[in-house]
Symmetry: C2
DNA sequence: TCGGTTATCCAAAACGTTTTGGATTGATTA
DNA sequence: TAATCAATCCAAAACGTTTTGGATAACCGA
């Protein structure tokens, strides 16, 4: 193993040299002096401008390479008055394991950002200081645009940015503004898929565990659920609806409440996979045979879904791709300020597994 | 719901005003003109320097607040020649669900970074361009320091940064350099805990599924495993060692290989939780009663561990805290270049659950 | 010969800060 | 009275780019 990168391993002399190179930062001025041209010319040569002699340009590039010149990002950005940086403010709920969704989403954004030469600035703010964080980033000109996610129906972040005409793109719609860029999954359609499937399996007594309806996703899915049930002549009984946020613990506890009722549901629709896992565990605890006599569905198709016992029937969303596409939409609007906002509604897919079988 | 943040909701006039404020960026010069003082004085007043008259300073601050002045971050950084930014280059394996570890680690780093006023620059590079990415960030002066994780025994990133004397702190040790800041868990001790427990449960035929031994963590744990087994007069048979990277699929497949041998192990030590989950599934597939006649252990105590069926015996590491502490160590060394590197070896904890019971 | 191109170059301004090295004033001290 | 000191202020330089608005010289066609 030592052979790999061995030039770095026992570096007595090498290190010193490198260290000197670093402490002496090469600037345009250095190159200019060395070549005997002005800073202007050097800058233009490196930018491949047409008004510099070919030979001069070559010589300049040669010297630049030889000196190991790398432009100073800060200086460039100050001059250009743009940061080439996209900001994302992390939601408090995305901080731990509970939300496997987030790391994939971030990766989708990050890979595209790197690809297009943008930096990704990730900020963690406490919920109560969330708006201050946005304001600081905007007014300190630290980012060129934002990615938003987990939107609310009336979303203060979106409202703020929209009012400033500050670029952003969001995963999830917002009711309180219009003309903005977003991607969303068709939650209503997703619920239709789920309900159709459950009904086909013989379920009529269907409950759900969902987060606050202030969250846009939840609201859309909830309405979709009600509507789809109605299409089958079924009703979503108030007693069969429980609020639970996002983690297994909530799913477990709320499912227990539902299942301990006099006439419990035969199926529970979890609004995300973690909730569904919790519900499965609750049912197991009560000795139910999950999949047969009691069904559970999730939402997200997280990796665990396929491996859980029983494997979870859930809705698949291409989170990684959504992140990437969102970033592309944002960059689009950064490059062309007049560009019409793009809006994308994705068709989700139902992944049927063993957690839902015929009654 | 509309009452909350209603100042943003129906903003006809408000929006315009805001928008004007933004397009007209307030600078020190603006304040200076308004107050009738020089830019220098304004700058010094806002920095609470002692050589500006109290009344003047107050007046300046008043006007600054009134105009909504926020310093231009780029200009400040260019002048100060520091970026106040910490970089983290994401390992390709951390991109999806498979590694719940990552989002918690990142959150630990990010929250502290925000707390100390540092930006967190998250970069996604393809593995083959990894070193280029580091070089660009270093030489373009885009970050003041790095957080490294998932170190190799001979780690090119650490070697590079170390040779340049560029600040970094890593989660995991590196063999190829010394005198650097790191946090690591005591993997040898962790394995001792696991082996002692398994032996106490009556296991003598113990196998393992571990990642490449080039990875420092894996190497340490592997050696710890061998040593701990030896302490009980046991040997780690070559046939009972399989390489698997990090996900359930690997765990599943490699566990099948182990279990289909003529004399299969009665316990499998997974080098992380995902591997362990896969192994559990494999055993279930073969009809084994996991926990009773066959034991599995994990490493990380990811959230799923407690909820898996059976719940997983595993090693607990405070990943979130480690991230935060790492960032603090890094900032420490940024502020005091001469500061001795700190090195922290954590005592891991064994969380015993039902996946390991008496034979 | 002259006006008009073209090719090549550059000084200076600009981006918005912080810092350096005084300058000015008025009061205090020797 | 002159020297010293403290308080208050600021012009200019610096950070390292990019861009603006020419300048210069050589060449071309009429």
């Amino acid at each position: 193993m030592l052979s790999k990168d061995s030039n770095w391993v026992s570096c007595g002399q090498t290190c010193l040299e490198r260290s000197e190179i670093r402490s002496y930062m090469v600037t345009l001025k250095d190159i200019a002096e060395r070549v005997g041209r002005s800073v202007t010319t050097v800058s233009r040569a490196l930018a491949d401008c047409s008004d510099v002699n070919k030979e001069t340009a070559e010589r300049i590039k040669e010297v630049a390479a030889q000196l190991g010149y790398v432009p100073n990002t800060l200086a460039k950005r100050l001059q250009k008055q743009s940061t080439d940086t996209i900001g994302i403010v992390v939601h408090p709920a995305s901080r731990g394991y509970p939300e496997p969704f987030f790391s994939e989403f971030l990766a989708g954004i990050g890979e595209k950002a790197t690809h297009y030469g943008y930096d990704l600035l990730v900020t963690y703010a406490q919920e109560e200081h969330q708006m201050d964080t946005y304001r600081q980033l905007v007014e300190g000109r630290r980012v060129d645009g934002f990615i938003l996610y987990r939107t609310l129906r009336d979303d203060p972040r979106a409202n703020y940015l929209h009012s400033l005409n500050f670029p952003f793109a969001s995963f999830g719609q917002v009711e309180s503004i219009d003309r903005y860029s977003y991607i969303d999954e068709d939650g209503e359609y997703a619920m239709q898929l789920i309900v159709n499937h459950l009904v086909a399996m013989g379920h009529t007594r269907i409950g759900c565990i969902c987060p606050s309806l202030e969250i846009m996703h939840a609201y859309i899915r909830y309405n979709g659920l009600v509507k789809s049930l109605a299409a089958h002549g079924l009703e979503l009984e108030a007693a069969l609806v429980r609020e639970g946020y996002f983690d297994q613990k909530d799913g477990y506890e709320q499912a227990l409440v539902l299942l301990n009722q006099p006439t419990p549901p035969t199926a529970i629709v979890g609004f995300n996979d973690m909730i569904a896992f919790g519900a499965i565990n609750a049912a197991k605890t009560l000795g139910l045979h999950v999949g047969k006599e009691f069904a559970v569905t999730g939402f997200d198709n997280s990796m665990m879904a396929a491996y859980y016992r029983p494997p979870l029937t859930t809705i698949s969303q291409p989170i990684f791709k959504i992140g990437g596409k969102l970033l592309e939409m944002l960059i689009q609007s950064l490059k062309d300020k007049e560009h019409e906002p793009s809006q994308l509604l994705l068709r989700p897919q139902l992944i049927i597994r063993e957690s839902t079988q015929s009654l």
